[in-house]
C-alpha cells in the first residue's frame, strides 16, 4: 500500500540530497531577504520586533515560490513525469507525495531556521514556539497550493513569474493567519484561534489540493 507514493518521496529526497546546493540556495535566499529588511527600514529594536513575524512569513512565502518552479519542471524535462502519470496508484496520491517531498526539502528547513532569524529581530523568547508552530502548520499549505500553480504553468514561457502571479494571491490567508498568530501572542493574547485556523487550512488543503494538482497535471501533460 502506498509503495509508489513512498518511492516518490524517497526518490525526491535522494535527488535533493545529491543536489544539496539547490536546497541551500533557497534557504540562503530566505536568510538574505530577512536580513535586507533592517537595512531598508532601520534597526530600531522596537520596530524590528513588531515587523519580525510579517517579514519572516513573507520571506517564507517567497522562498517557497522560488523552489516551486522546479517541483514538476525537472520531472517534466527528463520525462519521468510521464511515468508518474502512469504509475500504479491514483495520481492524487502521487501528487500528494510530490507536495510532501517539496515541503520536506523546502518548507521544513524554513521552520528550523526561523528561530535564528527571530533572534536577529530580537523577538521575545515566548514567541518562538508560536512562530515555529505557525510555520510548521502553514508551510505545508504553501507547498500544496503552490503545487497546483506549478502543475498549471508546467513548461510555459516565463513560468516562474506567472507562477507567482497565480499562487501568491492564494497564499494571502496563510500569510495573515501565520503572521497574525505571532502578532496575537506578542500582544499578550492567546494565538490558539489563529493556529487552529491554520490547522484547518492545512486539513482542507491536504484533502483537496492533491486532486487539483492531479487534474492540473493531466491538463498540462496533454
Amino acid at each position: 500500500m502506498l509503495e509508489a507514493a513512498r518511492c516518490i518521496v524517497v526518490r525526491d529526497l535522494l535527488v535533493a540530497w545529491r543536489r544539496r546546493s539547490d536546497v541551500a540556495t533557497a534557504l540562503l535566499f530566505f536568510v538574505i531577504v530577512t536580513s535586507l529588511f533592517p537595512l531598508g527600514i532601520g534597526a530600531e529594536p522596537e520596530l524590528l520586533r513588531s515587523i519580525a513575524p510579517g517579514v519572516i512569513w513573507v520571506a517564507a512565502l517567497l522562498s517557497c515560490m522560488l523552489s516551486l518552479g522546479r517541483l514538476f519542471a525537472a520531472d517534466h524535462a527528463d520525462g519521468t513525469l510521464e511515468q508518474l502519470l502512469l504509475s500504479s496508484e491514483p495520481l492524487g496520491v502521487i501528487a500528494a507525495a510530490k507536495a510532501l517531498a517539496h515541503w520536506l526539502v523546502s518548507g521544513l528547513p524554513l521552520v528550523l531556521i526561523a528561530p535564528l532569524i527571530a533572534l536577529q529581530y530580537d523577538l521575545p523568547a515566548p514567541l518562538y514556539p508560536v512562530l515555529a508552530l505557525s510555520l510548521l502548520l502553514g508551510t505545508p499549505v504553501l507547498s500544496l497550493i503552490g503545487a497546483i500553480g506549478a502543475a498549471l504553468t508546467l513548461g510555459l514561457r516565463g513560468g516562474g513569474v506567472l507562477l507567482s502571479l497565480l499562487v501568491l494571491p492564494l497564499y494571502v490567508p496563510v500569510l495573515i493567519m501565520g503572521a497574525g498568530s505571532v502578532d496575537m501572542a506578542a500582544a499578550g493574547l492567546a494565538p490558539d484561534g489563529q493556529l487552529l485556523l491554520l490547522a484547518a487550512l492545512l486539513i482542507v488543503a491536504a484533502a483537496f489540493a492533491p486532486w487539483a494538482i492531479a487534474a492540473a497535471l493531466r491538463i498540462s501533460m496533454e
Partner: protein
C-alpha cells in the same frame, strides 16, 4: 429529460449560439444605457445630500454596484469554467474567458472609486480597509486567470488550465475575504465602511439597485460580444 438536454446542447453549439448572442447583446446594451442614465440621475440629482459626508458620498452609486459585480462575475466565471470541465463544452470555456476582462474592469472601477472616496473622507488615496484589500486581491486573481490563459498557446490546454484555476480561486475567495476582514480588525480596529456609512435612504437604495441592474446588462452585452469574437477566432 432527454428532450430537454438535447435542446440545451443545441444552444451550446457555437453555430446556433452566435446569432442568438448577437440579438441578446444588442438588447442588453440598449437596456444598460437606459438604466445607467436613470441610475445616475437618481444618484446625482434625486438622492439627498448626506449629512456627514456631503456630496462626496455619491460615488457609492458606482462603487458599490461595481464591487458587487466584481465578486459576482468571478463566481459566474468559475461556474462556467466548472461546466466546461465537466461536460467538455467549448462554449462554456468561452463564456469564462469572456467574463474575465469585464470582472477585472469592475474590480478596477471599485478600487478606483474607493480610492476617490477615500481622499475626501480619510484624507488619503488608499486605506488598507478590509473591503478594498479584498478587492485588490480579487484583481490579482483575475489577472492571474487572464495571464495563464494568455501564456498557453494550445487552445484546449489554455481553456482547461484557466478553468481549474478559476475553480481553485472561487474556493479561496471566501477564505481570503474572511481572513482579510480578521486581519483588518487586528491591525486597525473597525473603520468607517463605505457601504454602511450613510444610513440607507430608500432613494439611495433604488439608485444603487438601478445602477447594479445597468452593470448587469452591460456585463451580459459585453461578454456575449466577446464570446462572438472568440467563436469567430476559433472557426
Amino acid at each position: 429529460m432527454t428532450a430537454q438536454s438535447v435542446k440545451w446542447f443545441w444552444y451550446a453549439s457555437p453555430q446556433t449560439f452566435y446569432p442568438v448572442a448577437g440579438v441578446i447583446a444588442r438588447w442588453c446594451g440598449a437596456a444598460a444605457a437606459v438604466l445607467c442614465a436613470a441610475g445616475l440621475y437618481i444618484g446625482l440629482f434625486v438622492a439627498p445630500t448626506d449629512a456627514q459626508q456631503g456630496e462626496a458620498y455619491r460615488i457609492i452609486f458606482i462603487h458599490v454596484p461595481a464591487a458587487w459585480m466584481s465578486m459576482f462575475i468571478y463566481v459566474v466565471m468559475a461556474f462556467w469554467a466548472a461546466i466546461g470541465l465537466a461536460f467538455n463544452t467549448r462554449l462554456s470555456h468561452m463564456m469564462a474567458s469572456a467574463l474575465a476582462p469585464t470582472g477585472a474592469l469592475f474590480t478596477f472601477i471599485a478600487l478606483w472609486t474607493g480610492s476617490f472616496w477615500g481622499k475626501p473622507t480619510w484624507g488619503t488615496w488608499w486605506v488598507w480597509d478590509a473591503r478594498l484589500t479584498s478587492e485588490l486581491i480579487l484583481l490579482f486573481l483575475y489577472f492571474g486567470f487572464m495571464a495563464l490563459q494568455a501564456a498557453i498557446d494550445d487552445r484546449r490546454r489554455a481553456e482547461r488550465a484557466g478553468a481549474l484555476l478559476a475553480i481553485v480561486g472561487v474556493v479561496n475567495v471566501p477564505i481570503i475575504y474572511y481572513s482579510v476582514q480578521w486581519w483588518n480588525t487586528l491591525h486597525q480596529g473597525a473603520s468607517v465602511s463605505l457601504t454602511r456609512a450613510p444610513s440607507m435612504a430608500a432613494t439611495m437604495l433604488t439608485g444603487m439597485l438601478v445602477m447594479a441592474l445597468a452593470f448587469w446588462m452591460y456585463s451580459i452585452a459585453v461578454t456575449l460580444l466577446r464570446v462572438r469574437c472568440l467563436i469567430l477566432e476559433n472557426r
